[in-house]
């Protein structure tokens, strides 16, 4: 490839992904030609209704669930909010204790914070240095008044994949409802809801080349959950509001494609990921991998560079047309670095120097090599400017 500058290297697929052509094509007729409201009686409404049900079947197949267990929502945040707030409202009479992990997405954490203000008690399970929740710790945290456990399937920042079968199995054995935020997992690693005893699972279409603004909540058959929105009879009255038909069609198509191509695509991404991890750790001193080497999403690279701050690095990468993300405070609007990086034991100053590269289906080996070539001088440039760094010092990590 030579030393040419690439036009754009998009390594932020955990933030969002582009919509696939095949997905967009299936969606388009539902904006202007088949625009009927699925609840109406005439024939174009019937087409919309059918399209929604086809998407439901496709998504159910992708998760090995039943179509009747799929409820379409506006995305991951709504699904997460609904699962937690809806369970708490329904079960408040039985108990007021909830369990989650220290590394959840804010779509989860902020619901728990609100519940705490309203008199609920929340246990935040710690994670180990790789970001894993311990099934034994979960077992110990369950009390007679525990009404919900919510642990994410895979982490958005460090890519750690939880032992979700074990965790859900413990919850099931103890009779406590179990929810998992699978926003980063769905479409990327196999999910089998016949095998995994989760009662609820959240996902979002735009994380696997579907459109933004649409997601789903799986609710296992027969499991109670208070509605989050109030209104009409859509989604069996559990999630009212006129269906986002084009979005739902796109979600169904994207899920079907992702699952069909998963074995090949996840192996391809994992190879790119490992090339990047090895190249960065081998090529840049004073660098550590965040998260687990093996229990890791196929597209996630997260590293901490000592002595530098993440936002500066993102700005320099952007000048090389590389889109990435960081666990730095300066990208989040607060002074604290990512709660996930702190939870795995990184001291503040190292958490500030983290870089996340997340790969997707349009990324190539050439792009990985480009990043491996461009990154080391940028890190060196910032270190030369850093009062914490002296060339040749021993590692602090």
């Amino acid at each position: 490839m030579g030393n040419a500058e690439l036009e754009r290297v998009y390594f932020d697929n955990a933030a969002t992904t582009p919509v696939r052509d095949e997905v967009l094509e299936e969606m388009l007729p539902y904006f202007r030609e088949r625009y009927g409201n699925p609840s109406s009686l005439y024939s174009i409404a019937g087409e919309s209704k059918k399209a929604v049900e086809t998407a439901r079947e496709r998504l159910a197949n992708a998760l090995n669930a039943e179509p009747g267990e799929i409820y379409f929502t506006s995305g991951g945040t709504e699904s997460d909010n609904w699962a937690i707030a809806g369970t708490a409202e329904r079960a408040a009479g039985k108990g007021r204790h909830l369990i989650t992990s220290a590394i959840e997405h804010h779509g989860i954490l902020n619901v728990f914070k609100k519940l705490e203000k309203n008199g609920f008690e929340v246990t935040y399970l710690p994670v180990d240095a790789e970001g894993l929740v311990s099934p034994e710790e979960l077992e110990k945290a369950i009390r007679p008044d525990t009404i919900l456990i919510s642990v994410m399937y895979a982490n958005n920042e460090i890519g750690t994949v939880q032992p979700i079968d074990d965790l859900a199995g413990i919850a099931a054995a103890r009779g406590v409802p179990f929810h998992t935020d699978a926003v980063q997992a769905a479409g990327h690693i196999p999910i089998d809801l016949k095998k995994t005893k989760a009662d609820m699972l959240s996902l979002s279409a735009h994380k696997f080349n579907g459109p933004k603004g649409v997601g789903a909540l799986f609710i296992r058959k027969g499991k109670p959950l208070e509605p989050f929105l109030l209104g009409g009879h859509q989604e069996k009255g559990r999630r009212p509001g006129t269906e986002n038909v084009p979005g739902i069609v796109g979600l169904g198509k994207a899920a079907a494609l992702a699952v069909a191509e998963m074995p090949e695509e996840s192996a391809r991404l994992a190879a790119l990921r490992d090339r990047l991890i090895d190249g960065i750790l081998g090529g840049i001193p004073h660098t550590r991998l965040n998260g687990s080497r093996t229990k890791r999403l196929p597209g996630n690279v997260s590293v901490a560079f000592e002595f530098i701050e993440g936002e500066s690095l993102l700005l320099l990468l952007d000048m090389k047309n590389i889109c990435a993300s960081s666990g730095s405070a300066c990208t989040s609007g607060s002074l604290d670095p990512s709660h996930v990086l702190l939870a795995i034991g990184l001291p503040h100053e190292k958490a500030h120097g983290s870089l996340r590269l997340t790969l997707g289906r349009y990324n190539t080996a050439d792009e990985a090599e480009y990043v491996l070539r461009e990154l080391p001088p940028l890190v060196a440039r910032l270190r030369d400017m850093s009062p914490l760094y002296k060339a040749g010092v021993k590692t602090m990590i």
Binding site: F307, I308, E309, E311, S312, L315, L316, M319, S328, A329, C330, G333, L335, P337, H348, E349, H352, D384, M385, S386, P387, L388, Y389, K390, V393, M396
Partner: protein
């Protein structure tokens, strides 16, 4: 998010480096690694005039840019004038900073003051209106030891 001036001073920072310890060099170290910003400013002072300024900064784009701008602004000024360089003046010279980055410009002002304080201490003089810097020294010392 950043003005062109901020990006210019971030990508081509002026005055990066250090000055060797000497009686005529004041060194200011401020900030906190926990918050993700540390600035170290060196001011060389001859006959009451700042004749050279250097910095090293660990921090975001705004932290680097304000360090660069503050060291540019201070050169050629008397000690009294140097003391008048406020965070607001630095931010304005950069065509403004996003609201969440205003603390970076405060740090630049503090770093200049700390360097002036250090110079005054070393030389047994008093600069009117200058107060002892309130850096998070414990944290900085801890990091220094680890190095």
């Amino acid at each position: 998010m950043y003005s062109d001036k901020v990006m210019d001073h971030f990508t081509n920072p002026r005055n990066v480096g250090e000055l060797e310890a000497a009686a005529d060099v004041g060194v200011g170290l401020v900030g906190n690694a926990k918050c993700g910003d540390i600035m170290k400013v060196f001011l060389k002072i001859d006959d009451g005039i700042v004749t050279d300024a250097k910095f090293k900064t660990f921090g975001c784009g705004a932290a680097v840019a304000t360090s660069s701008m503050a060291t540019e602004m201070v050169k050629g000024h008397t000690l009294r004038e140097a003391l008048q360089i406020t965070n607001k003046a630095v931010a304005e010279a950069l065509d403004g900073l996003p609201p969440i980055k205003v603390h970076c410009s405060l740090l630049a002002e503090q770093a200049l003051h700390a360097a002036l304080w250090d110079y005054a201490e070393k030389n047994g003089i008093e600069i009117e209106g200058l107060e002892s810097p309130a850096a998070d020294l414990e944290e900085l010392e801890r990091l220094g030891e680890e190095e």
